[in-house]
């Protein structure tokens, strides 16, 4: 055995080992979204569920982002077939009701689902304080770079996406983000860890 050669050959394999060790610290399901910090994509969608609270809109009304300039808007993408959406439903409804007097506008956006199913689901879940709009052919969802449901977007007074939340949202996150957006009117600093997206693990 030539031990000097042996040692140098072993060293050559070190970078591969280091790279693989580094790879263990990664989560392939975490994908950063480029949206936070950018202008929210414009949309114009028809209401299919009117909502119950002060922010109710008649069924068939068109909701445009352009009509909400200078307001804080929360968009929640959901579907009746989505199990995780059940977890966040009551929280969203309550927080939306609580913040309505301060001018925060909540909209549910139905993703990949029939409005009739959505209406039935809302009834089963005990109603919803804010209206939901339909997104035929999921064009708005794609505009927002949606991976799956539920995903929640916070749009600041400047019309920029301030924050994107993936998965069921908690009351703490909702109130914290809303408070800062309503107070400052400026977008929250981007780049926080929460702007990561988790892709569902099943392939279709």
């Amino acid at each position: 055995m030539n031990w000097k050669r042996a040692a140098s050959a072993a060293l050559v394999s070190l970078p591969i080992i280091v790279l693989l060790a580094y790879s263990l610290t990664l989560d392939p399901k975490e994908i950063p979204s480029p949206l936070p910090g950018r202008s929210a994509p414009a949309f114009s969608l028809a209401v299919f569920a009117q909502g119950e609270g002060a922010t109710r809109r008649a069924v068939g009304d068109t909701v445009r982002l352009a009509d909400h300039q200078g307001e804080v808007v929360v968009l929640n993408f959901w579907a009746s077939w989505c199990l995780a959406c059940r977890d966040e439903h009551a929280i969203l409804s309550d927080v939306a009701e609580a913040y309505a007097p301060r001018g925060a506008k909540f909209y549910g956006v139905l993703y990949n689902d029939a409005p009739a199913n959505g209406v039935r689901w809302i009834r089963e879940m005990g109603g919803q304080s804010y209206p939901s709009v339909n997104d035929p052919r999921t064009r708005t969802a794609i505009d927002f770079g949606l991976y799956g449901v539920p995903e929640t977007f916070f749009i600041g007074r400047d019309g920029r996406v301030a924050y994107k939340h993936v998965g069921p949202v908690s009351a703490a996150v909702l109130t914290q983000k809303l408070d800062s957006l309503l107070a400052a009117g400026a977008p929250a600093p981007r780049g926080d860890s929460a702007s990561k997206v988790t892709v569902p693990a099943n392939r279709s």
Partner: protein, 686 residues
């Protein structure tokens, strides 16, 4: 009870592996053959114990013993028996158990067939096999323990992953893959054994491991083809290869092993490339472990990913030890592995093998860097990037085309030296074939340069390889006045390795033609069809007869019954379906395929109206797809022919029972003593 039997068997097997690993160096150093023999007995015992554990698991699965962790994870009372049994390898822990079982089986066979050889090669080879087995036992009693206790015992389980209980091929593809993967451990163990024992200058390890490498390569080939077939039949996109990380993981060792099968011939005939071959076989093994790491640690998301957990660290340690130890061994021995041969000319088969190895190595490197680049980019740029099909196609198609070309040149060129006359005589007919094929391809409508090139080179290789066989047959018929069939049989029988190789080449041509044709001439049709109406699909019409549902114990199934119409004549019926499993949010499609030698009609149910009044169908016309499966079979047939050569005669004074010490002087071979000393006491170091 079943759980305890299985779990304890694994612990005892682990202890046995440790004992065997210790006994070998001790026995060699003290020159006590009975210690070495005891380690051989330990190898057989280890196999027996693992068999007990596997049977315990299968028994647990079949009897729905949900107190066993793995059964509670993948079992379900509603799952059919066949899928219950094959769920043994459907999830992480079970697949590791199955892997360990195959590994201990191969270890036992290696020992059984070579137990009477003198020298330190076999003891060190056995030690390597035991070390690899030990790693899997550590996984099995630690992070991948399938026999964990579940309490309270659930009444039923969720059943296997829906994707894995949807097709019979799931009973075929994983065992083949494990046999291929695990099989590559054997030549690796022989190579390490040769280096550790100091017997690497004799090429014994090459001769002893040759059939093992061929066998493992054959299984890996079959596994890759079966995996393609499964993907085609189950995933519903009409393709068979997506350059998914796991597909790449199985493909990379195949590439290096294929390179090895060729370059080892240069070593055997000309005494060259010995260092290179060691590197190839070590890389092949390292790539199998890397592939397992990538798929079992959740590092890269993939259709086959088995989920995350601490197991990644264990595999990382295994890769680190494998790379460090084996490359150190190769480099440390490099001075003793100088080429003894030389080349007589440039236009020879040896040179073609060198180019072949260059291309296979570049191919492996491209796939490796493409697979790992998302990790590299994230480390360097902090940005997630994807490396997928378009990249791999662009980068590897030139290599594939060149390899097809070489596959025709190699067999046409003689060893050692070729005159211009021989070259012309040998290469002219394949060239004519290539030009003809290119003309036909263009006439049929191929417009992409690569497609035309691929058809031309495929024809080139086909003519060259068929000519090698047919000229041999003709010579025999002429000289020995044999019939064509007899002549073919005897010709192949007389030099199985060579003609097995040509048969495998013909299989590769078949696969290449199938892939090129199906991707070049693929046409898709998609339409929403009302009940009773038809949609066009090439020269056929697809008529929707009805949409119907069926409840099965483990799933519900919605299917569309369609007729394939040729004009007014019905020529077949198909039932593409969607399966709804309680554990899966998305439906799992089951496409229906009408397979004919000249091409497939692939019908997928995309959507349907709940009242059954209409359905959206996607119909894909894919020419020559069955050629891929057929070609895979031909390649495996070639591997079988090449493997079927008789092994070198074993010593006649072999003991007739396992582990019994033969009645002859112990350690008669001075070589063994010296090399064992060198390896154990480091006296050989300079």
């Amino acid at each position: 009870m079943t759980r305890l039997i299985g779990y304890n068997a694994l612990w005892v097997a682990l202890a046995t592996a440790v004992f065997g690993m210790v006994a070998i160096p001790v026995g060699l150093r003290r020159r006590r053959l009975e210690w070495v023999q005891a380690s051989y007995a330990a190898t057989f015992t280890m196999f027996g114990l693992t068999t007990v554990a596997v049977f315990a698991m299968v028994y647990g699965l079949v009897t729905h013993d949900f107190s066993i962790g793995y059964v509670a994870q993948v079992g379900s009372r509603a799952t059919p028996l066949f899928y219950t049994i094959i769920s043994l390898w459907g999830a992480l822990e079970g697949s590791i158990l199955f892997w360990a079982w195959v590994l201990t089986l191969l270890s036992a066979l290696v020992v059984f067939w070579n137990r009477d050889r003198d020298g330190a090669l076999i003891p060190y080879t056995t030690m390597t096999m035991l070390a690899v087995s030990l790693f899997f036992f550590i996984l099995l009693v630690g992070p991948a323990n399938p026999f964990t206790l579940v309490s309270p015992v659930p009444l039923d389980g969720p059943g296997p992953n829906p994707l894995l209980q949807n097709h019979v091929l799931m009973g075929v593809h994983p065992p083949l893959l494990y046999l291929g993967y695990v099989g590559m451990t054997v030549p690796f163990a022989f190579a390490v054994g040769a280096m550790a024992s100091g017997e690497v200058e004799q090429d014994d390890w090459v001769k002893l491991s040759r059939r093992w490498t061929l066998g493992a390569w054959g299984f890996l080939t079959a596994a890759i083809i079966a995996g393609m077939w499964w993907s085609y039949e189950v995933l519903g996109w009409g393709g068979y290869w997506a350059w998914d990380p796991v597909e790449n993981a199985s493909f990379m060792p195949w590439l290096t092993a294929t390179a090895f099968l060729h370059s080892v011939m240069v070593q055997e005939r000309r005494g060259m490339l010995r260092l290179w071959n060691l590197n190839l076989i070590v890389s092949t093994f390292a790539l199998t472990i890397l592939g397992t790491f990538l798929t079992r640690s959740g590092v890269l998301s993939s259709v086959h990913a088995f989920g995350e957990g601490p197991i990644g660290m264990y595999f990382l340690a295994a890769i680190a030890i494998t790379l460090l130890v084996s490359f150190a061994l190769v480099a440390g021995n490099s001075e003793r592995l100088r080429s003894t041969g030389r080349l007589d000319g440039v236009a020879t088969r040896e040179t073609v093998f060198l180019l072949n190895n260059l291309l296979f190595t570049a191919f492996t490197f491209t796939v490796l860097i493409g697979t790992l680049f998302p990790i590299i980019a994230e480390a360097a740029r902090g940005v997630k990037v994807s490396v997928g099909e378009p990249f791999f196609n662009k980068m590897t198609l030139p290599i594939c085309a060149s390899l097809l070309f070489l596959m025709g040149v190699g067999p046409a060129l003689p060893w050692k030296r070729a005159t211009a006359d021989v070259l012309r005589r040998q290469l002219l007919p394949p060239l004519v074939g290539a030009v003809l094929a290119a003309a036909i391809a263009i006439a049929v409508g191929a417009r992409e340069a690569y497609a035309v090139l691929a058809f031309a080179f495929a024809a080139f290789a086909l003519v060259a390889n068929v000519r090698e066989i047919s000229s041999g047959v003709q010579a025999r018929m002429r000289l020995r006045s044999e019939g064509a069939v007899t002549a073919l049989g005897r010709l192949v029988g007389a030099n199985r390795r060579r003609y097995g190789g040509y048969v495998a080449h013909i299989g590769v041509v078949c696969v290449a033609v199938g892939i090129t044709a199906s991707s070049t001439f693929r046409t898709e049709y998609e339409a929403t069809v009302a009940k009773g109406a038809s949609m066009p699909a090439g020269r056929f019409q697809i008529r929707l007869n009805q949409v119907y549902g069926r409840e099965e114990p483990q799933r519900s199934r919605i299917a569309a019954n369609v007729s394939v119409m040729d004009g007014a004549r019905e020529i077949g019926r198909l039932d593409p379906a969607m399966n709804f499993y309680p554990t899966s949010q998305q439906p799992i499609p089951t496409p229906a395929v009408r397979s004919r030698p000249w091409g497939d009609l692939y019908v997928n149910l995309m959507a349907f109206k709940p009242d059954g009044s209409n359905a959206t169908l996607k119909v894909i016309v894919e020419p020559l797809v069955p050629w891929i499966w057929l070609g895979g079979g031909i390649i495996c047939l070639g591997a079988l022919i090449a493997m079927s050569t008789m092994p070198a005669r074993r010593r006649v004074d072999a003991p007739d029972a396992v582990g019994r010490v033969p009645d002859r002087e112990l350690v008669p071979d001075a070589r063994m003593g010296a090399s064992a000393l060198a390896a154990n006491t480091f006296e050989g170091a300079d």
